[in-house]
Symmetry: D3
Subunit: 68 residues, 6 copies
């Protein structure tokens, strides 16, 4: 599936922490930049996500703010 | 102001396109990675945003999906 | 790519309207239910999206409210 | 109250799981399609939400991505 | 319909500006505080929204960041 | 850092509740109006957030719905 999301950043899972329903996943996208995603535990299980996996951080343009 | 957003990526504005109410801003955050933000024209004017500016892409962890 | 998003609803594009920077896409997901997505014009072009196409509406669980 | 959200899908609550602060609610909107919402436990209590309830999944158009 | 959204702020529409597909609505919620919403033109028409109307700004808790 | 977000409401933290990964923060923005934010525990720690602190609720215009 190809996605409309303007931001699809490829990287590697460097940390994965599950809560009771929500998990936090950190993806290093290169040059030391790390993106944190908050997703459901269910999604982690469905994707079989684990540290070291190649993964994408996917973000809609309307969810990005700009700071200056 | 310090922000709760887990993702604050520093870069440079490489493109800026205004529509009638909504603008698209592209920020290069290094290593060729570019983040697209869709913000109001008003915000562009308030920040005095222009191509070449140093800027941050700010994204809440709950707005990041993971693909694998 | 497999996605963490809990909601991936398959349907058919029944309407597509472009603005100056933002487009509205309506996807019929069956039984008369129609989902409206607001995405960038750029995304419409990248996907080569047109009326009649099979498509998915993808929504993060944290973006769904509940009414009763 | 009438809402601006383009997507208001009527269905029935088929699953409800509370975490420590966040709950996951699954609403069947017909034809086997199920929408998962991640809302606060507080909201579940305020709505008196339980399995079997008639409920709406409410989603802003700008929170819908398109896949093809 | 009662909503799960934690933030439902009552106020008055003080400004309304339509673009080609997206409109910006400003709601004064008292004490000089004004909330800006970006919604579809279609939603403005459906609600028959106009300056002076009593209206609610509705925001999911997961869409609020904190600054300090 | 100056932000593109149209909504930056200043107030005082009146409640703070941590879950396993996600925390709920309530900010009184005056005149009895209270905004609830759902942020990561990590963000609470990074900001050193506690009840009584002066804080801002920051919300993108595209995350605000309108009810009437």
């Amino acid at each position: 599936m190809k996605l409309s999301a303007r931001n699809q950043l490829k990287g590697k899972v460097v940390e994965l922490r599950k809560g009771q329903t929500t998990a936090h996943v950190r993806i290093e996208i290169g040059a030391g930049a790390v993106i944190t995603a908050s997703i459901t535990n269910e999604a982690v299980d469905d994707l079989g996500l684990k540290v070291g996996d190649e993964a994408w951080a996917v973000i809609k343009a309307s969810d990005v703010m700009v700071g200056k």
